[in-house]
Symmetry: C3
Subunit: 138 residues, 3 copies
């Protein structure tokens, strides 16, 4: 059995946005009990991650880490078409990935206690991000 | 056809632990010949990787690389609830990923000759890590 | 329904190689309309990524970024069996991943407008890289 549904997230610029509830709602709606859940973001300057969901400071530290690793305006970069955050956004997106694959068990994504699903916006400005959830199972 | 099975790995603290044999045993047990194998770890301070399986120095170099990239006690980090290795563990987990997706062919995970499946423990202390293997195929 | 097909890419050494067309051709050939497409590379010194497909400077910047992050001949590394690019290749492969999972919709990989599928060769010399595409869906 295959279930597929698109959805959108409006970001307010760089930062991570919890989408665990949307994902779990769609899994419930699918009627699939056991299988695989794929979440996919159709962009190259945003990504998806499973991150600690209790202390928001974790995600603030992740931003600080990425700002040190691939800073805006880094003179290393030549691709600057859309500004100083353009190439850093592509790098952050590739290092963290545009898809997730999570087991479905008991009609839910079988996340660990501290695992939340986050859309990570890497561009400074607000964007509308398009995602697709695909479930395969029984 | 869907096959799903949970298992646990007791780590002795930071380092990578070969789980290729457990994974291949479960694939064989499933009776699935061709499809997709997903391995998932239900934590935010451990990860999974496909790594060179011949020279243990490769995985020692990976530890040295991560210790330079996201060192314990890095003054950049504010999330220190569980000690100096807490935030570096989250970062290492996110950079390397909590799931793997591998093709199944001929009733086995179709790994390359040098690809081994490893659970990567990023916390200093020993932990019991919970994993789920989900197979979809025929 | 499961579809699986292997293919090879001959690289000319370090750099990224567009494989979007090969992937879309195989998806079309499979006859699967809706589901999940997994692409897998059977090596530990190459990887797969979804990257901006319009400006080649993006992928040149990615090479510059990786050369700074994990440079060839870095004195940190002890695994040098196959030369100064050996360990950096393993690191780049693990950071960017040996598999992709993309939704299939309308008989195609549902990539975003700017998402291209790339094989990333991390070794200096030319290599023949073995890949497998596995589709599950209906």
């Amino acid at each position: 059995m295959v279930f597929q549904e698109g959805f959108q997230i409006d970001t307010r610029g760089r930062g991570s946005y919890a989408i665990t509830d949307q994902v779990q709602r769609l899994v419930k709606q699918s009627g699939i009990n056991r299988g695989i859940c794929q979440v996919f973001v159709h962009h190259t300057s945003a990504s998806l991650m499973l991150c600690e969901n209790a202390d928001p400071e974790v995600r603030a530290d992740l931003e600080r880490f990425m700002a040190r690793l691939a800073p805006d305006g880094d003179p290393l970069f030549r691709h600057l078409d859309e500004g100083p955050d353009d190439m850093p956004a592509h790098i952050r997106s590739i290092l963290t990935g545009q898809f997730l694959s999570v087991p479905v068990a008991g009609g839910r994504c079988a996340l660990g206690t501290w695992q939340g699903v986050y859309l990570w916006e890497h561009r400074s400005r607000a964007h509308r991000r398009r995602l697709t959830l695909t479930l395969i199972g029984e």
